[in-house]
Subunit: 206 residues, 4 copies
């Protein structure tokens, strides 16, 4: 048990390539104000990831990729409260309409881009994202957002299970702590999807 | 970004208690021969976890908990091949009927216990596990199995999303590498479910 | 092939009882203005069903049942357009915020009652309804709404598959045409759930 | 309420075309021995549909379409018993390995064709069918099988919700009673998918 996951995965032939086929879509996970604020649900390298995602989002728009944005948002009246709020009480501040729940200004959805309201980690769970991708003829999914170990990872695992080839963009995803971020990127690259920088993604899909 | 996930989670009030309500069920994830063999898909502390799970399984049976076992198994004729096999080529050896695919002798399902055949990480995804728990009046789920960062974690995340209060049993789950195991237990405890030793679980549910 | 479904089901022992266990919740399906207007998506006995549902809803509130309301609503900008709009072009008028898309005045959700926005037939598909029921400790589901052969039936089939015992309230569900309404009630009673009048439901659960 | 569903749908502009795009796959629903036996779960025009499906299946194989077959099958030990068995007690005879549960001889799956074991109406619910179609690059789904008002209809509704354009082949689907069969074909054609004869399907996709 002294080996690192990274070396075990390498030795075991994990991490085969399932590069996203074109046409691709972009999924931007949970870049809302609360996740950019270290005193709420943010911190770590999330801010840097949001900055890099501006580049990716601009390119996605210029290429005409279908674009989806997810956000965690609960109703004010408690009608959709669930056990995740009990587990992570700060999520209870993510009330629809609150500033904390709004997308960050630099990454606002444009008209025609899908907005997924969710109360769970994965952007696929209990949403129409899978159908939405299919209807738009998408074969590969590019994921940016936060947190790497949370909603990004959960979405990447669901994408794999749904048969969608996925790239997680390493410099466009962020987490509160570097160890959680790194551990999840290693697991994703070995077991669930491709992990590439924004430059590499744009080179491949352009 | 110098903080560890553990300290960030603690400071942020993550890790609220969502202790599994009784009645509970036991889910044993993927304790098949291939995952006990370091030359196939095993290694690390998976063997130790399988040993401890014998204790848990015996207790579960003596208490009459509903018990489910999952296994990864593909069909010989390639009819259900998916992108996970491309990503982790060794999964392609997990053919129905092969010895590698059989449950380990010490943890064989007994008649009346549910066996879930799957070709994805989560034991909930594309299975009848959620319905099965509901029909049996279960409110809380106890998870053992492997790997901690793979199918155990994916199942715990789905359980949370499905509204099922879950305990991951720290000494009954194992992974190929200690860093992947530890990172996932920290994430699960902070964000998705309870993490407790087998003794603590039995004290709570007995 | 001269027998009716009703007689074939009777002879074959279909229609066993899976009476909803208490505690129950109430699901009100798609009672929005467009479905009360024969020139849009309404007609038939939908108006009568909405009237009877006022009685059921009042009782549900007085008993403190968890209550969920679903509605079909697409975004103005076309971002969530799907193939259902191509199949039934009038659905494309159900734009969020439009009067056609609002719940009928007599059946408005109250604060604390779940509102499910959907773009598919079943209120369970791609929603958090299953988790929501579980978190609220619900064991049985009472369904009112429209249309009987459309979203009511699709929701009842999903409820069965999810392991939820369901009652469709015969005088609180309606359809555009009596033949579609009757045929679906016969199928539901034989294969998916109980079919009972509102009086019988209240006698059983009261 | 004197109008028939058929005339209401026609007047309301229901039944837009969502013709399945190529490449298509074929789904054969539940053509097992029990459903060909009027004393078990069969009767009506199911036998005729199974006969016509031989033509469709042969063509599908000659065109190299991906082919999936579903069957209802419960485990002998009761481990996966669910509420559907309570509702339709005869389903309890569909035990894995029993002759009643085997595919009819004339429609046996060939190696490489997907076999979906299920304990619910829809072939999509709790199965890997959606992922399987995606991995094989399928855009449209052709459905044959039984019963029209049961598992065929449930599968067609799920296909629509999942964003899959579907054709239900009118002479390759059957039901125990002509009224249930007809009512469901009318609903499907108006609201969920195309309804075409096997000749028309082969003309379109050939």
């Amino acid at each position: 048990m002294t080996d690192s996951a990274k070396s075990v995965y390498a030795r075991g032939g994990f991490g085969g390539s399932i590069l996203a086929d074109v046409p691709v879509a972009l999924l931007v996970v949970d870049f809302c104000n609360a996740f950019l604020d270290p005193d709420m649900l943010g911190g770590g390298n999330i801010g840097k990831a949001a900055e890099r995602t501006q580049v990716l989002l601009a390119e996605a728009r210029s290429h005409g990729w279908p674009i989806a944005h997810s956000k965690i948002a609960y109703r004010q009246d408690g009608s959709d409260a669930n056990i995740w709020i009990e587990k992570v009480p700060r999520l209870g501040k993510l009330i629809e309409g609150n500033c904390a729940t709004e997308f960050v200004d630099a990454l606002l959805p444009q008209p025609g881009e899908l907005v997924i309201r969710k109360t769970v980690p994965s952007a696929f769970f209990g949403s129409d994202l899978d159908s939405w991708l299919k209807v738009r003829g998408v074969k590969g999914l590019i994921i940016a957002g936060c947190t790497t170990s949370g909603c990004v990872r959960a979405s990447a695992v669901d994408a794999l299970s749904l048969g969608i080839r996925t790239v997680v963009v390493s410099d466009c995803v962020g987490d509160r702590a570097v160890d959680a971020h790194e551990a999840s990127l290693i697991d994703i690259a070995a077991k669930y999807g491709e992990v590439m920088t924004v430059e590499a993604v744009l080179r491949t899909t352009g």
